[in-house]
């Protein structure tokens, strides 16, 4: 028996070595494919993607323009559905901010933020967080509070004293904290959140962040990329400008096609 073991002893080591090399190669492969993993992102977005060809301005549940940046009458709408306890939303948040500020002042552009708190156990504070930003909105501080919640997601998301933390944000933002707390507990802010959720459901949103540009869903892999987002928005603005030009032959506001 000993002899046989000796004879074959090289083989298992060879196999082990090969597997080790394969594991390292596999890790490198996963690492390189990770940055633009089309398989995972495509599948998670395709469910949300299907039922929404041109519903950008569909009045499903929520009015346009409650939490909106840009022009009321803009032809190009970027609409984000997000959840304050979603890590992906927090990751995409700075890009969305950059996008909105890049087109600030462009009369063809508007950005709408929609609450879409996912009803899963891990996101136990999402709905209330949305209500908190609405409560801040009643004091004109929606975007500031939204920014605070996304930027400090890790600080409050698993903290049992999260309401106290939010109140500190409200204080720092110069808000009337007692009013903020009363509004947070009140029905008005919850109704606002519910309206956004209804709209998201009507559009078939099943994951966050989901971003529509004029009703067309943007793949998740593009959302972290300001350059490709701007390409998409620029293309929409150009398309709108083209139809406007063909509609009215003598008016010539072609400058709307692109900006920085």
């Amino acid at each position: 028996m000993k002899k046989q073991q000796k004879q074959t002893s090289g083989m298992p080591l060879l196999i082990i070595g090969l597997v080790f090399v394969a594991a390292v190669i596999g890790a490198i492969y996963f690492y390189n494919s990770g940055t633009s993993s089309p398989a995972t992102t495509a599948s998670s977005n395709s469910t949300a993607a299907r039922p929404t060809p041109n519903m950008a301005n569909a009045p499903a549940g929520a009015p346009i323009g409650v939490n909106m940046l840009g022009s009321q009458t803009a032809a190009v709408t970027v609409e984000e559905f997000a959840d304050y306890q979603c890590g992906g939303c927090a990751a995409v948040h700075p890009v969305m901010k950059e996008l909105a500020s890049a087109y600030a002042g462009n009369r063809n552009f508007r950005f709408i933020y929609r609450h879409y708190p996912l009803a899963i156990p891990a996101h136990d504070k999402s709905f209330e967080a949305s209500a908190a930003t609405e409560a801040a909105g009643l004091q004109g501080k929606f975007w500031q509070m939204q920014d605070q919640l996304f930027r400090n997601q890790a600080a409050w998301t698993a903290n049992p004293n999260y309401r106290q933390i939010w109140s500190e944000y409200a204080t720092n933002l110069g808000m009337d904290v007692q009013r903020f707390q009363a509004d947070l507990a009140g029905i008005q802010t919850k109704n606002r959140v519910d309206a956004d959720i209804q709209r998201g459901r009507a559009l078939g949103v099943s994951s966050t962040p989901t971003v529509f540009v004029n009703g067309k869903p943007v793949p998740f892999s593009e959302l972290n990329n300001i350059a490709s987002l701007r390409r998409i928005v620029d293309a929409e603005i150009a398309a709108v400008a083209a139809t406007q030009q063909s509609n009215s032959a003598n008016s010539a506001p072609a400058a709307a096609s692109s900006n920085q």
Binding site: P12, L118, A119, I120, A122
Partner: protein
């Protein structure tokens, strides 16, 4: 392949599945690539939870090391090294116990399941099952 013990060989193959899975999860953990949150999946929640690391070491990486070790021991055992099979049994028992703990965390603490973590739990429980099966049928599979 005559002369190779079947149960350790099977354990080696199962360990390979676990290895591939945990290497994938480790890379996901290290790249910290943002993932969308979904109504039906909870992977991002599990992988970004405080339980994804113990003392700064990602569990997925520890799992990759454990699966690689389990694979190596199983291969050596398949070629007849009985001591390696005993070591394998100890490791598989630890891994199975740890997997049960992770399932508990996902179900009751984090409140979300990650399918890749569940695959890992399944493979380590299978490894343990194979070891038990080998122990129960020791007379038949033993070398002498």
């Amino acid at each position: 392949m005559p002369g190779l013990r079947k149960l350790p060989l099977a354990a080696g193959i199962v360990a390979l599945v676990g290895l591939a899975d945990s290497v994938y999860l480790s890379v996901k953990h290290f790249t910290a690539e943002p993932v969308p949150c979904s109504l039906v999946e909870g992977c991002e929640k599990v992988l970004s939870s405080p339980y994804a690391e113990v003392a700064g070491v990602p569990i997925a990486a520890a799992g990759a090391l454990a699966y690689f070790t389990a694979f190596s021991l199983a291969v050596l055992a398949a070629y007849g090294d009985e001591r390696m099979w005993k070591l394998f049994g100890g490791l598989a028992t630890l891994m199975a116990g740890f997997s049960l703990w992770l399932i508990y965390l996902q179900a009751f603490v984090i409140g979300a399941f990650c399918q890749f973590c569940l695959i890992s739990a399944a493979t380590s429980l299978t490894l343990f099952g194979i070891f038990i099966a080998a122990a129960l049928t020791r007379e038949k599979t033993s070398f002498e």
